[in-house]
C-alpha cells in the first residue's frame, strides 16, 4: 500500500501556465484604480466594448480582476466538491454563511471585508459541523439535513440582516448586496481577500494535490495509508468557505453555488482526469466571469451575477450537447449509426443463411425469403436491401425470364465485400456459441441470444484468440459450418 502511495506523481504540466496567470493578476491589480462608475455613460456599443477590452478604466479593471479571481477560486473548489458528490454542500455553505456575514457586519459596524470573512467562516464551519452532527446522531437523511441547516441558518441571517437594515448604521451600508451581489461595489480590500483566498486554494491544489485526490476518491484507502483525512476535509471546508464568502458580494448567496457547480460539472463532462478537470473548471470559471461582466457592461440595466451564471450555463449546455466524446448529439449519432450497421449485418447474415440452406448451389437470394427469415414485412425488407445496395454489399438481379425490371428489388446477390461481411458475422456468431458451450459450459440451447448481440462487436483480435483457444474449429454446437478465414478470402463460388 505504502509503496503505491510513495510513488511520486510527476509534476503536473498544467500548474506551469498558472504561474504567469497569477503574475498577470497581480500586475493587473497593481495598476492604479479610479473609482468611476461602471457602465455609467451612454456611449455606443463599440465604444463601450473598447473601453472594457482596453481595461483603461479603473473600475473595469476592478471588475475583471474580481470576476477572474472569483471564477478561478470557485472553479477549483467546485472541481473538488463536485467530484466528491458534495455539490449541494456548496449550496448549503453559501446560505449558511449569511448569519456570519451579519455578525461580522455588526461587529465592525461597517462593510469591513476582514470582519465579515472571519464571521462568515465561523458560521460556515458551524453549519458544516451541524450537518455532520445531524448525520451522526439521527436517522435524518443527507438531503434533509442539508435543507435543514441551509434554511435554518439562512433564516437566522435574514432576521439579523432585516434587523440591521432597520438600525441607523445599517441603512446606507449596502449589506443587502450580499443577497444578490453587486460587482461594482467591490473595494480594494475585497480584492485583496479574494486574492488571498485564491492563493491559498492554489497552494492547496498544487502542494496537496495527491493527498486531496486520494481522500476525495477513496477515503478508506487514504485512512489506511495514514493520511489525516479529517484534517484535509476541514481544510477543504475552510477554503470552500473562503471562496464562497469572497464571491458573495459579486454574485450573491444563491448564485455562488452556481459558480461552484456549473464550471466543475462542465469540466467533468470534458475529462476524467482530476488535474485536467480542475484546470478546465478554473478556466471555465474565469471565462464565464469575464464574458458575463463584459455583457453586463454593454447594457445599462444588466446585472453581472446572473449573467456570469448564465454564460457558464451556456458553456455547460454546449458541452452537454456537442462534446465529441460525452455530448448527447455525437452519442445519439453514433448510436444511430451502430443501430443501422447492426440492421445491415443482420440482413447480410440472413442472406448467408439462405445461401447455406441451398448448399451454396445458387448465388441469388429472393428478397421474400430474406423477409421471412428475418420475420419482417416485405416493405421493410425492401428498405433494408436498398440500404445494402447503397453501401455496395449486394447487387440486385431481375428474376430470370422477367424482361422488364420491376420497381422493387426481387432477387439479390452478395458482392465480394458483402460476402466477406456476412461470413464474418456468421463466423463470430458460431464461434461465440461454440466458445460458450465448450469453455463456459453453457447449454447449447442457451447460447444463441448472447451470440446475437456479441457477433456485431467482436474484433478480429478477439476472434483469433477464441480460434486459438478452440483450436480452429470447423463446426458450431448445432453442427453448422463455421466460415474460416480461407472461406472468406476464397470468396463465394457457386
Amino acid at each position: 500500500m505504502n509503496a503505491i502511495y510513495s510513488n511520486p506523481i510527476p509534476v503536473r504540466g498544467w500548474s506551469i501556465p498558472l504561474v504567469p496567470f497569477a503574475l498577470g493578476c497581480i500586475a493587473l491589480f497593481a495598476l492604479p484604480a479610479h473609482g468611476e462608475q461602471i457602465g455609467g455613460t451612454n456611449d455606443g456599443l463599440l465604444e463601450r466594448s473598447l473601453r472594457f477590452l482596453s481595461l483603461s478604466d479603473g473600475s473595469v479593471r476592478m471588475v475583471v480582476m474580481g470576476t477572474l479571481l472569483m471564477g478561478f477560486g470557485c472553479g477549483i473548489m467546485g472541481g473538488h466538491i463536485v467530484t466528491r458528490r458534495l455539490s449541494l454542500f456548496g449550496d448549503t455553505l453559501s446560505h449558511a454563511v449569511l448569519p456570519g456575514v451579519a455578525v461580522g457586519f455588526l461587529w465592525s459596524q461597517s462593510k469591513d471585508s476582514w470582519a465579515i470573512l472571519i464571521g462568515a467562516t465561523l458560521a460556515g464551519f458551524l453549519g458544516v459541523a451541524l450537518i455532520s452532527m445531524i448525520r451522526k446522531t439521527t436517522r435524518i437523511r443527507q438531503d434533509s439535513a442539508l435543507g435543514l441547516v441551509l434554511s435554518g441558518f439562512y433564516a437566522f441571517g435574514i432576521c439579523m440582516l432585516t434587523r440591521i437594515q432597520k438600525m441607523e448604521f445599517g441603512n446606507q451600508s449596502g449589506i443587502d448586496k450580499y443577497l444578490f451581489g453587486q460587482v461594482v461595489g467591490l473595494s480594494e480590500s475585497d480584492l485583496w481577500t479574494m486574492l488571498l483566498s485564491c492563493a491559498l486554494i492554489l497552494l492547496l491544489t498544487v502542494f496537496l494535490y495527491k493527498e486531496m485526490l486520494v481522500t476525495g476518491f477513496d477515503s478508506d484507502f487514504a485512512r489506511s495509508i495514514g493520511l489525516p483525512v479529517e484534517f484535509l476535509q476541514y481544510l477543504l471546508w475552510l477554503l470552500l468557505a473562503f471562496s464562497v464568502i469572497t464571491s458573495l458580494q459579486v454574485v450573491g448567496v444563491v448564485l455562488v453555488s452556481a459558480l461552484l457547480v456549473i464550471p466543475a460539472a462542465t469540466a467533468s463532462l470534458m475529462t476524467e482526469k482530476m488535474d485536467r478537470l480542475l484546470f478546465c473548471s478554473a478556466l471555465l470559471g474565469c471565462a464565464a466571469g469575464v464574458i458575463g461582466s463584459f455583457i453586463s457592461f454593454l447594457g445599462s440595466h444588466l446585472p453581472t451575477g446572473p449573467l456570469i451564471v448564465l454564460v457558464s450555463a451556456a458553456f455547460f449546455l454546449v458541452t452537454l450537447l456537442f462534446h465529441p466524446r460525452t455530448g448527447l448529439l455525437p452519442q445519439w449519432l453514433s448510436s444511430r449509426d451502430r443501430d443501422r450497421r447492426i440492421l445491415r449485418e443482420n440482413t447480410l447474415k440472413a442472406a448467408y443463411q439462405e445461401l447455406e440452406a441451398m448448399d451454396f448451389k445458387q448465388e441469388i437470394v429472393p428478397v421474400s425469403q430474406l423477409a421471412s427469415r428475418r420475420r419482417i414485412s416485405m416493405p421493410q425488407a425492401y428498405r433494408e436491401v436498398e440500404s445494402l445496395v447503397t453501401k455496395k454489399f449486394v447487387t440486385i438481379h431481375s428474376p430470370p425470364g422477367d424482361a422488364s425490371p420491376s420497381l422493387q428489388p426481387v432477387m439479390l446477390s452478395l458482392t465480394p465485400k458483402g460476402w466477406e461481411t456476412a461470413c464474418r458475422i456468421v463466423r463470430n456468431h458460431r464461434l461465440w456459441e461454440l466458445y460458450l458451450t465448450n469453455e463456459a459450459r453453457y447449454a447449447p440451447d442457451h447460447v444463441h441470444e448472447d451470440a446475437e448481440k456479441i457477433e456485431h462487436v467482436l474484433g478480429e483480435e478477439t476472434v483469433r484468440r477464441i480460434e486459438r483457444i478452440l483450436s480452429n474449429p470447423r463446426r458450431d454446437p448445432h453442427g453448422k459450418l463455421i466460415p474460416s478465414q480461407q472461406d472468406i478470402e476464397r470468396g463465394f463460388v457457386a
Binding site: 463536485v82 458528490r85 458534495l86 455539490s87 449541494l88 456548496g90 449550496d91 446560505h95 455588526l106 446522531t137 439521527t138 436517522r139 435524518i140 437523511r141 438531503d143 434533509s144 442539508l146 435543507g147 435543514l148 441551509l150 434554511s151 435554518g152 439562512y154 433564516a155 437566522f156 435574514i158 432576521c159 432585516t162 434587523r163 440591521i164 432597520k166 438600525m167 441607523e168 443587502d176 443577497l179 444578490f180 448567496v253 444563491v254 448564485l255 453555488s257 452556481a258 461552484l260 457547480v261 456549473i262 460539472a265 467533468s268 463532462l269 440595466h301 444588466l302 446585472p303 451575477g305 446572473p306 449573467l307 451564471v309 448564465l310 450555463a313 455547460f316 452537454l320 460525452t326 448527447l328
Partner: protein
C-alpha cells in the same frame, strides 16, 4: 439614542398590543393565519417529499419558479393572479423535469445536476426581472425572504360583491384545502410508492403518474407560499415539520397530524419573535422552526439525543 441590536423584551408590546384594537387584531390575525396555512400545507406535502428523499427538489423548484413569474409578468404587463400562477407552476415543473432528465441522460452526478439546473433557472429569473422589472413591483429581496407582513395590504378578492379577504390569503387557503383533499384521497398510493417502490409496482400503481402528481402539488404549494415566505424559506417549511415530528412519532398519519400543532407554534412564535426583535416575520418563523427542531433533537422520544445518549457514548468509547 442608539437602538440596541437585541431590543429589550417588552411582554405587553409583544403579546398584547398586536391584538389591542379590532383593526390591529384583524391585520395581525391575517398575518398569523397566512403563516399557519403556509406551514400546514408545506408541512403536509413536505412529509412525503422528505421520505422520498426529494427535500432538495423542493429547494430546486422554489428557485426554479422565478423565470416563470418574470415571464408571466413581462407578457401580461400586470401582476394578474392566474398568469403568474401558471407561469410559476410551469417553470417549477420544467425545472424538476430538467433535473430528472439530466440525472438520467448525462454522466453527471445527481447532486451536480440538481445544483446546476436550479441555480441557472434562478439566474435567468433574476436577469429577466432586472431587465423588465423596474416597474414590476417584484422586489428581488422580497423573493428571497418574503413579505408576509404585507399580506393584509394585498388587494381584496371579492365574489359576487362580497369582499372575502386578501388575495394571497384566499389562494393559500384554497391550496391548503386542495393539498388536504389530495393527500386524503391518494393517501394509500402515496404511502406505498414512497416507502416500497417494488410493492407499488406489483400492485399496479402508476408510479410516474403519482410522482408527477406529487411534483405538481409541490409546485402549487411553493408558488402560493413563496409570496409570504420567499423562495428559500419555503424549503424550510417543507422539511422542518415532518423531521421534527419524526423525533416523536414513527407512523405517517401521526407525523402528518403533527404538522397542525407545529404550524400553530411556528406561526404564532415567529410572529411574536419578529414583533420583539423587529425583524423579518418569515425569517423568525423559520427560526422558531429551527429551535423546535433542535429541542426535538435533544428530547425526542424516537432517537433524541437524551434517549440515545447511552448508545452514543458506547459508540464513541468503542471508536
Amino acid at each position: 439614542m442608539k437602538e440596541p441590536f437585541i431590543r429589550d423584551f417588552d411582554p405587553i408590546d409583544t403579546f398584547v398590543t398586536p391584538w389591542a384594537t379590532a383593526a390591529d387584531a384583524a391585520w395581525n390575525g391575517q398575518i398569523v393565519l397566512m403563516g399557519f396555512l403556509v406551514c400546514l400545507s408545506c408541512g403536509l406535502v413536505g412529509a412525503f417529499i422528505v421520505v422520498r428523499r426529494l427535500a432538495l427538489m423542493g429547494d430546486a423548484i422554489s428557485h426554479g419558479i422565478l423565470p416563470g413569474l418574470a415571464l408571466a409578468f413581462i407578457v401580461m404587463q400586470s401582476r394578474a393572479l392566474l398568469p403568474m400562477f401558471f407561469g410559476a407552476c410551469i417553470a417549477g415543473l420544467l425545472c424538476s423535469a430538467c433535473i430528472e432528465w439530466l440525472q438520467r441522460k448525462s454522466i453527471l452526478k445527481p447532486d451536480a445536476a440538481l445544483g446546476l439546473t436550479f441555480t441557472s433557472f434562478f439566474a435567468l429569473g433574476v436577469l429577466l426581472i432586472s431587465l423588465h422589472g423596474s416597474n414590476a413591483h417584484i422586489d428581488p429581496d422580497c423573493l428571497l425572504y418574503g413579505e408576509i407582513g404585507l399580506i393584509p395590504l394585498a388587494e381584496n378578492l371579492s365574489i359576487a360583491g362580497f369582499e372575502i379577504g386578501s388575495r394571497p390569503l384566499i389562494s393559500m387557503l384554497a391550496i391548503t384545502i386542495l393539498v388536504i383533499l389530495a393527500l386524503t384521497i391518494f393517501y394509500r398510493q402515496l404511502l406505498v410508492s414512497s416507502f416500497d417502490l417494488t410493492l407499488a409496482k406489483t400492485l399496479g400503481l402508476r408510479i410516474n403518474l403519482i410522482h408527477f402528481g406529487l411534483m405538481l402539488l409541490l409546485a402549487l404549494t411553493i408558488v402560493s407560499a413563496f409570496e409570504a415566505v420567499g423562495v428559500i424559506l419555503v424549503v424550510s417549511m417543507l422539511i422542518f415539520p415532518s423531521v421534527t415530528a419524526a423525533f416523536f412519532f414513527t407512523r405517517m398519519p401521526a407525523i402528518l397530524l403533527c404538522s397542525i400543532p407545529l404550524s400553530v407554534i411556528y406561526s404564532f412564535g415567529g410572529f411574536f419573535l419578529a414583533r420583539w426583535l423587529d425583524c423579518s416575520i418569515a425569517g423568525a418563523m423559520v427560526l422558531v422552526a429551527f429551535l423546535c427542531f433542535v429541542c426535538a433533537w435533544v428530547i425526542g422520544s424516537q432517537g433524541g439525543l437524551l434517549q440515545r445518549a447511552p448508545y452514543l457514548r458506547r459508540a464513541v468509547a468503542e471508536s
